[in-house]
């Protein structure tokens, strides 16, 4: 408890954030909120990468975070485009209404 926080504290915080994102994906019934929960999970993983990179004294963790952010941006763009297309067809954001592929 003296001085700097340890690696374990960062990792536990990251686990909590990841679990919050997981719960959000299952609990919410709004496609946009589900996408936001996925962003929470990506950020929890980013925190793990940076913490481990700091613990190992290398810059690789920060570079991986750079790539994760790029992929997250691509995912957000495509995901939101799909949301717009779905909303145009169904006038709803409830994932339970998207049952076209269900039989």
């Amino acid at each position: 408890m003296n001085g700097m926080p340890t690696l374990d504290q960062y990792l536990v915080l990251s686990a909590i954030l990841f679990a919050i994102g997981t719960a959000g994906v299952f609990v919410r019934r709004n496609v946009i909120t589900i996408l936001l929960s996925i962003e929470i999970m990506l950020n929890a993983v980013n925190l793990t990468f940076v913490a481990f990179g700091r613990a190992l004294g290398s810059s690789d963790g920060q570079i991986i975070v750079f790539f994760v952010m790029t992929v997250a941006a691509a995912e957000a763009a495509v995901g939101l485009a799909i949301v717009i297309a779905l909303f145009r067809h169904r006038q709803s954001l409830d994932p339970d209404t998207f049952t076209l592929l269900k039989w």
Partner: protein
Amino acid sequence: MTIDVIPFYLFGAVAVVASLLVIAQRSPIYSVLLLIASFGALSGLYVLLDAPFVAVIQIIVYAGAIMVLFLFVVMLLNAPHEETEEDLAREAGSRPRSASSGLKVFGVVLAALFVVELGWALTRRGGGAFPGRPVTSVAAIGLSLFTDYAFAFEVTSVLILVAMVGAVVLAHREPAGGNAHWGEGGSQGGPPE
């Protein structure tokens, strides 16, 4: 050695509480704004971890670009609030609702399992205080990015291009009765069911 524990708990608490509120919110616009607060707190944690480059990128790219994209879409779609359980019960109809509540219980249990499991697995190596000196300089990161990770960097640019084209194609509105090159045509865009 300075007392870094206090800002750690401060930023950590803000991140966790804001993320919980993102999930607890029924209105998507508040969820997006709270997620920006959560990202700000995470940025503070990156500063504590001696990663100022990641902290700045977090603010600029995540809070500045990606979340604004979300905000645009929420406002574009007129942000319909999520239906409450009462609304759904009133217009119950044929849709089975029991599966949804079971799914929620499953999600919460899975989240609790993740906290225990990830916390246990990640902290098994017994990481204490950080040894060694951190890599904080942007020059070192850039050097590594453009030498060791040059191929991944180039692939990333292709990924962004594909995502951009894909987003345009997916969100493209067909002209009514026009010549549709892809999709199922724009003539049947009426309200469903």
